[in-house]
């Protein structure tokens, strides 16, 4: 199949300017599209993510992982979910303060440091949350909820602007 020549759109194009106006203490950026696969038949440590093959593998539940930009093992049961979710990168010294406004899990660096992940809720949206570092998170959200979550995040960052 030829390389696609159709133009792509992103659900958060209309939010780009608002994201760019945020201060360094609460940066939000929409991540580029990467292939994502829902993978069954691989074992993983609950509530963690690991680096795999240049991408990431995130534990979603018993016997279920999400591969981000990584090729699943050949013997696994795989469903393409590349467009099911979009990814937001949240960085900065106040990013935990923003997340804590809508996320009930303990985000303290000693508890939820690099390598931890959670399938949980932020505001009223279901998310997959990955700690990439102390002040560095990846938030995966279903594409249809992306606008809601972007509005929610901008509202929660307002006090740091």
């Amino acid at each position: 199949m030829a390389e696609p020549t159709l133009s792509r759109t992103h659900p958060l194009e209309a939010w780009t300017a608002a994201f760019e106006a945020l201060p360094p203490a609460v940066r939000i950026t929409a991540e580029p599209y990467v292939p994502m696969f829902d993978v069954r038949g691989v074992t993983a440590e609950p509530n963690t993510w690991i680096e795999v093959d240049g991408g990431r593998a995130v534990w979603l539940g018993p016997d279920e992982s999400l591969y981000l930009g990584a090729t699943p093992p050949p013997d696994a049961a795989v469903t393409d979910v590349s467009a099911q979710r979009i990814a937001l990168r949240l960085t900065g010294g106040h990013v935990r303060d923003v997340l804590a406004q809508g996320c009930a899990i303990d985000l303290h660096p000693r508890v939820f440091g690099r390598g931890r992940s959670a399938v949980t809720t932020l505001g009223q949206a279901g998310i997959v949350l990955l700690a990439l570092g102390d002040d560095d998170f990846l938030v995966l959200v279903r594409s249809s909820f992306a606008g809601y979550l972007a509005d929610w995040l901008l509202d929660a960052t307002l006090e740091f602007t």
């Binding site: 133009s7 099911q84 606008g147 509005d151």
Partner: protein
């Protein structure tokens, strides 16, 4: 020549003073930022009002101190500065705040509360009582106040606040309340939010006990949260003399990043697993200067491994006749007003006590120049009698205050028959530990006879009570609930105007339980929730019944500890964020196209696309006509989609659908119905077989999450042996039904690699293709009865493919349509919408879908219920069509259906109901309105005429089969 009272030197002749102009006009923080006009306003403009005016004066020939005074500009009279002490307290005397109360102008200082600032002006009377209209004043310095109920008017209406807990700010405008406040009639523009926080130790209360607990945990390396309702830490130390220990403790805590220290934060509820809710008043004290980007209030959702409750104690009043007059306040409160706020509560203070703590208040006030005519102590022996003698204060032991006199404010205390002039009466009946959070958390209370109070009566896992809240209070040898006297003027709950007489009536009516007495008398149900009246009631009931207090107990403490605004509880979940709005990949396109949206579950879906000048009706008729005669396209991406994958996928689906799925060949599609075990339809949709071991299940838009959960429940709990995986892929596919007789031309033109002839691409078949390298799946599915294709594509490319379809359809006048047209088209074909034409009591047979119920499968979910007697009753409601015979009335959905009335008049009730209208539209195709309805024995009534009451008239309707357009199905293949 009049005398002016210098706060430091006393009264001097006015020539010693220089006038300094209006008070409360601060030098601008950043003059360079002001416009010339604003600067000129600061330099040249001052109020020039007649009457009370807050001014600056300088005692230039004396102590050279500047001070504020209030003078009447008409009479030149200075108001007595009287009640503010010349120094001391935790207020910032260098700044003056101006506020109004009840329309009058007052001044105060940063650090004041509304109560302390009013008392500093000699103002005790705040409000009138809710039932009797009696004047009421400030009785306490905190949340336990039962008299100082106010309404804040500016900067934003805020009802039912206590003057003692409202921090003063410039521009505050408030008034007293007669029991009930007024909600704002304009939207609240302030922000509210919530924040989660996890700690090893949560300490509630930053008094001495709480500070020590927090310091110890902090030093041990624990994660700590310390919350306190006051504006600053210190608790009871704020009311006495602090030597700087509090500031040191606070500074040490501030140095630990793992300590969260929140003042102005009231822990109002203790729940399970160490969960405590606390509301932080972040900007209330800033008034109009509050930053707009900071939430006004925040609800903290605190989760703690251990909770330490260090909430101190509330002083307990004593009940006597006319004990509700303004000027009567708790002794400890008077001490707080003096030491914390630098305010003398009066000039002549009678003290009535049963314990030693009131003597601290009496001596502090005495030293501050308040005359103490007498201390009335109910105890025969008084440990601090010598101190009274040394201070020259008259002491009456074994005596009580039996009543008061006064017009508005108290003028006399009646002390065992003697009338003692006074302007305040300070009362102390002991202290009640603030056990609210302990009790909320399920802790049992125990009556402590040495305190005359209820204290924690057991140890709780995860919650410890310390300090005064745990009962670490000086014992009260004499417990006195009430002084004998006329019970109908002895107030127990001032906020409810409830008296001892009310309790007597309740007990006389036979009530014994405090919970019953509370509901009968309303004691403890007002704003303060019985903070001072609750234990008094227990004691008085016990006395009246002649039983020990251990037998009466207390009423239950329930959250919230103090009132919390609904806005705070709602947080940011309001307005646009009240409920998530879900968008398809085409949302921006729809907006740009001028779509009118409707909510379908959480989704925003285009309802119709009006052209200039079009109402919904004309737009929908146009969109319907395009679909039936040309070609039209809708964004159907909201349909729920579930990937069903694994060797046993077909087995699972055979068990969940009423019809046979395993016989479906890869590359083909089948319509299916799912029922609950009760045989009632729960969802429907199409099933695509993509491979032997992979299906794509399509659900209704609203049913997606529920059906995935339902499928997982059966798979995980009943059939775990099945090798199947279920994955939601709703957002993985954008879906565009292209509908109408010209749809084949459009699809054929855009996807030339696909043979779209009806022979090569039959109904209910799938074809995979691509568009400029992007994979596309085509399905011949119709929800309108017309020739139709569904186009599936990764939503990254949704806009591009949608626009290419529009371009390919332009020669055929392709029209975008919304959900309203979709509903009309499907209803004309009798296709039900689950949840609109069904209500959880409808079987597939009721819907005329018996053809979709397998007779071959040995079992499937719902099968057994179909043979229940009630489900084979021919008089069950069945889906039929209705045609109003006037050819004009659009029957309101939900209308009842009744037998035909030959006289055309409404029958007298009760009228037997035959069913109701479930869907109703105007049809372009039929040229008339039509409806779908559930009607008892409906299929047998086809051809009959029935009546539908609409407003005051009966509309005759003809019962038809549910399929009104193309019943032979000739259009499906074009």
């Amino acid at each position: 020549m009049q005398l002016i009272e210098c706060p430091w030197c006393g009264p001097r002749e006015e020539v010693e003073f220089h006038y300094g102009g209006q008070a409360g006009v601060p030098y601008p923080a950043d003059p360079s930022a002001l416009s010339d006009e604003e600067w000129a306003h600061y330099v040249f403009f001052r109020d020039n009002r007649k009457g009370r005016f807050a001014e600056r004066w300088n005692h230039s020939a004396g102590c050279r101190r500047w001070f504020n005074a209030v003078r009447d500009t008409a009479t030149y009279k200075f108001e007595k500065p009287g009640f503010r002490t010349p120094s001391g307290g935790r207020i910032d005397r260098s700044r003056t705040l101006t506020f109004t109360f009840g329309g009058e102008t007052f001044t105060g200082h940063p650090g004041d509360t509304l109560a302390s600032a009013l008392l500093a002006a000699g103002r005790h009377t705040i409000a009138t009582s809710v039932k009797l209209g009696r004047p009421r004043g400030i009785t306490a310095a905190g949340a336990e106040d039962s008299g100082g109920l106010v309404q804040i008017e500016e900067p934003f209406p805020d009802p039912m606040q206590l003057a003692a807990t409202v921090e003063l700010y410039d521009g505050l405008s408030a008034r007293g309340l007669a029991g009930q406040g007024r909600l704002a009639d304009v939207p609240d523009s302030a922000r509210y939010d919530a924040k989660h926080h996890h700690v090893d130790l949560l300490v509630v209360g930053a008094g001495p006990a709480g500070l020590i607990a927090a310091l110890e945990a902090s030093r041990a390396g624990d994660r700590v949260a310390l919350v306190d309702e006051q504006s600053e830490a210190g608790g009871s130390l704020l009311s006495g003399q602090d030597d700087g220990w509090v500031a040191g403790a606070v500074a040490e805590l501030a140095g630990n990043p793992d300590v969260l220290h929140l003042q102005r934060t009231t822990a109002f509820g203790a729940y399970d697993d160490g969960f405590v809710l606390a509301v932080e008043r972040r900007t209330d004290h800033l008034g109009a200067a509050a930053p707009k980007n900071i939430s006004r209030q925040r609800v903290w959702r605190l989760r703690a491994k251990q909770v330490v409750v260090a909430t101190g104690a509330h002083e307990r009043p004593i009940v006597f006749a006319d004990n509700d007059r303004p000027g009567i306040m708790l002794a400890g409160a008077a001490r707080t007003f003096l030491n914390r706020y630098g305010v003398r509560p009066g000039r002549e203070a009678v003290v009535f006590t049963t314990n030693d703590s009131a003597y601290d208040a009496a001596f502090d006030l005495h030293r501050a120049g308040v005359h103490i005519p007498v201390i009335v102590d109910a105890r025969p022996e008084v440990p601090r009698a010598d101190e009274c003698a040394a201070a020259g204060i008259r002491l009456l032991t074994g005596a009580t205050v039996t009543g008061t006199r006064g017009d508005d404010r108290i003028t006399h205390a009646i002390v065992d028959g003697e009338s003692v002039p006074c302007d305040v009466l300070l009362v102390s009946g002991g202290w009640n530990p603030a056990v609210h959070l302990f009790s909320q958390a399920g802790g049992k209370l125990r009556y402590d006879e040495t305190l005359g109070a209820f204290v924690p009566g057991e140890r709780l896992d995860g919650l410890t009570v310390v300090g005064a809240a745990a009962g670490e209070i000086e014992a009260t040898p004499l417990v006195l609930w009430r002084v004998p006297g006329p019970s109908d003027r002895q107030f127990v709950d001032l906020q409810r105007d409830a008296t001892v007489a009310d309790i007597e009536r309740a007990v006389g009516a036979g009530m014994r339980s405090l919970e019953h007495i509370k509901r009968y008398t309303t004691i403890g149900t007002a704003h303060d929730q019985g903070k001072t009246s609750g234990v008094l009631t227990s004691g008085i009931v016990a006395e009246l019944l002649g039983v020990p207090l251990t037998a009466t107990g207390t009423t239950t403490f329930r959250p919230p500890y103090t009132p919390v605004a609904f806005a705070a509880l709602a947080g940011r979940d309001r307005g646009r964020l009240f409920d998530p709005e879900r968008y398809t990949a085409l949302h921006d396109w729809h907006v740009a196209a001028g779509a009118v949206f409707e909510d379908v579950g959480q989704w925003k879906r285009p309802r119709y696309y009006p052209r200039p000048g079009e109402e919904m009706e004309t737009a929908v008729l146009r969109e319907c006509a395009a679909a039936r005669t040309g070609v039209a396209m809708i964004d159907g991406s909201t349909l729920g989609k579930i990937d069903v994958h694994g060797p046993d996928a077909a087995v699972l689906l055979d068990r969940l659908y009423t019809n046979l799925i395993s016989s479906l060949k890869p590359g083909m599609v089948r319509y299916g119905v799912m029922c609950g075990v009760d045989g009632m339809v729960i969802d429907d949709g199409t099933v695509m077989r993509l491979a032997d071991d992979r299906f794509l299940v399509l659900t209704t838009t609203g049913g997606a999450a529920k059906i995935l959960d339902w499928m997982e429940e059966w798979l995980q709990t009943e059939w775990p042996e099945l090798r199947v995986h279920l994955t939601s892929v709703t957002e993985q596919w954008a879906t565009f039904p292209v509908v109408g007789p010209r749809s084949r031309d459009v699809i054929g033109a855009l996807f030339p690699g696909v043979d779209v002839s009806k022979e090569a691409f039959p109904f209910m078949a799938l074809r995979d293709t691509e568009l400029d390298g992007v994979p596309i799946r085509l399905a011949r599915i119709s929800f309108s009865g017309e020739l139709a294709y569904e186009v599936y594509v990764n939503p990254w490319y949704a806009v591009a493919v949608w626009e290419r379809l529009l371009e390919a359809g332009r020669p055929y006048g392709i029209t975008t349509y919304g959900t309203e047209t979709m509903h009309v088209l499907r209803a004309e074909k009798g296709y039900p919408i689950i949840g609109q034409d069904t209500d959880g009591t409808v079987t597939p047979h009721d819907l005329g879908l018996a053809w979709a119920v397998s007779k071959k499968k040995p079992d499937f979910i719902g099968k057994r219920s179909f043979s229940r007697t009630v489900n084979v009753d021919p008089m069950r409601k069945q889906l039929v069509g209705l045609l109003p015979t006037d050819r004009g009335t659009v029957l309101p959905e939900g209308s009842q259906i009744i037998e035909f009335q030959p006289d055309g008049a409404r029958p007298a009730p009760p009228v037997p109901m035959l069913g109701h209208v479930t869907s109703s539209y105007r049809s372009a195709e039929l040229g008339r309105p039509f409806a779908l309805a559930l009607v008892k024995g409906g299929r047998e009534r086809i051809g009959d005429t029935l009546h539908v009451p609409v407003g005051d008239t009966l509309v005759p309707v003809e019962v038809t089969g549910p399929v009104l357009v193309d019943p032979e199905g000739t259009r499906r293949d074009g």
